[in-house]
Amino acid sequence: MTEKNAVIKVHDLVVGFGDVTVLDHLDLDVRDAEILGVVGASGAGKSVLLRTIIGLLPRRHGTIEVLGVDLAKATEAERRALERRWGILFQQGALFSSLTVKQNVQFPMRENLEISQRLMDEMALAKLEMVGLTPQDGEKFPSELSGGMTKRVALARALALDPEILFLDEPTSGLDPISAGDFDELIRTLQQTLEITVFMVTHDLESLYNACDRIAVLADGKVVAEGPITAMLESEHPWVKTYFQGKRGGMLAERQMST
């Protein structure tokens, strides 16, 4: 199932804590310039998978290849170079609370690029405008932001270095349905203009319908179903069936079919 143009290749991955095995011989490919949505029950290991791919959690077995670099064999310098090529949106935003919004967005630029303060200011404001914020918001501190704004700033910071891969950990959780819809659209637009690959962990059915090209379902530590939304609706796996054809999923499916 390895594909030629996959930017993330996860093969035979095992991750566990103590006696618990969370991911059990998992295989997953993320193709170039697609939005992949990863779903699964709470505790199925979605966030664990994401955190393992970006190297925050150790793995017991298996290989992970991101943009052609094998994480296990990469040297320190290769890893650092790779980390510049991806951006991560954490679930709670993880903004630096002692820096202003603008400084938060500039932080990766300041550390990694040798550019003038003027260009950095212009780029930070450009990124903020791209995610739908105003220059005035740039002077605020993270504690003064609403939930939706925090997510937008975190997205702007993730995009600061024009990454090739964007990891999103539940980007729409904690947002009202309208903001969540806007956010999905924003991710879709940005992905199309910037041509990036998006790896999105989510619970939000709407996001899966509106934003994702492909969906991977995690259950029992493995990917039990993979494919576009139509494939999900045809899947026979009990959890997938309940999720996509249950009360909430079913309504969306009907709406999708009728349009």
Partner: protein, 377 residues
């Protein structure tokens, strides 16, 4: 990168630019310098055309610099044409076309003299404000205590025992060690200097009176302020940041009664206990040094000690201890509740808590000294 990012050629009154290579974040520094240089050529030419066909990598940094270049030309009334940009990169340039249209908000820079005076004034006002906050905390703790005395069943005994374990019991080893060393040092210095006029024995008076009246309680209070006061502030501050205190309040609990009263009462009880243990340890350390360094045998040390000190000296130290515990607790809890959203403010309040409580402990010690002197203790 052998490829030139941007080359320019003047053809008549038309400046022809040819772009190439990677117009991306990693080349943004070089690119910016080139773009600025080309803008400097503006007076020589009437219009400009930019050929982007040679560019094989293009991101928002490149797009913005291209936009900045054309924007600067059109601003000076000249024409700028971009040609040869691949179809899929046009969206990015269009996106950039919309941004940074309104000037960024200007940071407010005041007169340095005025801002200096303002900061002095603010510091003074803060000091006054601190006193108000501390009295307010003292008042609400008093109220909570009164409520608990009326309805003793509502007092949080488990929390008190847990805090006592942390603040008093776990502090015993370090307090014993530090006061032991302090006692030993005072004794050594006393013997060393008194020996010059043959009065080594008076070093025992020195150790006894100093330790029981002042040093014992002060060292313990400073240790507790650094050890437990800071942890109270950090704990309450983190709870404030995570809205735990608001949650308590909405469930109908008074945070003062649930969180703060047990903590402060524990300090009020723990400080006399620790002071007693600390003073004994200091006297022991002093005795050991007197024996090993000064040749004063333990028997003589003890008999000299019973002559030199009286119960009054002991009482002076012990009376001060609970008040110092109260001051440390009030300052630590008040500062903890003043933490705002950021990690930085947690750090600032914790520092303030330790500095202010040590300062107030020493001021209080001075006031007690005046008080005891005037009543002849």
């Amino acid at each position: 990168m052998g490829e030139a990012l941007l080359t320019h050629k003047l053809v008549g009154e038309r400046l022809e630019l040819a772009a190439g290579g990677s117009w991306t974040a990693s080349h943004a520094g070089e690119l910016e310098a080139l773009v600025d240089r080309v803008t400097g050529e503006a007076p020589k030419a009437k219009d400009v055309s930019i050929d982007m066909a040679g560019v094989h990598e293009f991101d928002t940094f490149g797009a913005w610099l291209l936009e900045r270049l054309t924007r600067q030309w059109t601003a000076s009334g000249k024409e700028a044409v971009v040609v040869g940009l691949p179809e899929h990169d046009r969206g990015l340039l269009k996106e950039m076309n919309g941004v940074n249209r309104e000037p960024p908000p200007k940071p407010q820079l005041g007169n340095p003299v005025v801002s200096f005076l303002a900061s002095v004034g603010r510091a003074g006002a803060d000091f006054g404000h601190n006193l108000v906050v501390f009295s307010e905390m003292l008042g609400s703790v008093g109220m909570a205590l009164a409520r608990v005395i009326v309805r003793p069943r509502e007092y949080r005994l488990t929390s008190t025992v847990h805090q006592f374990d942390r603040v008093a019991w776990q502090a015993v080893p370090i307090i014993l060690l530090i006061t032991f060393l302090i006692g030993a040092i005072i004794s050594q210095q006393g013997i060393f200097h008194f020996r010059k006029f043959g009065a080594e024995l008076y070093s025992v008076d020195l150790v006894g009176i100093l330790v029981l009246r002042e040093i014992g309680v002060l060292i313990v209070a400073i240790m507790v302020a650094g050890r437990s006061g800071s942890s109270y502030t950090a704990e309450l501050g983190a709870m404030k940041m995570r809205e735990e205190i608001d949650a308590l309040r909405t469930m109908g609990f008074d945070p003062i009664e649930v969180l703060i009263l047990p903590r402060i009462l524990v300090l009020v009880i723990a400080l006399p206990v620790l002071t007693f243990l600390g003073s004994m340890s200091a006297l022991y350390g002093g005795g050991l040094v007197a024996w090993l360094y000064g040749g004063i045998s333990p028997d003589i040390y003890i008999s000299r000690l019973t002559e030199a000190i009286s119960l009054t000296h002991f009482k002076v130290g012990m009376i001060k201890a609970p008040f110092m515990g109260l001051v440390i607790g009030i300052v630590a809890c008040a500062e903890g509740l003043r933490v705002k959203g950021s990690a930085e403010s947690l750090g600032i309040q914790t520092t303030n808590s330790v500095v202010e409580s040590i300062f107030l402990v020493i001021v209080l010690d001075g006031l007690f000294a005046i008080f005891f002197a005037s009543i002849g203790m």
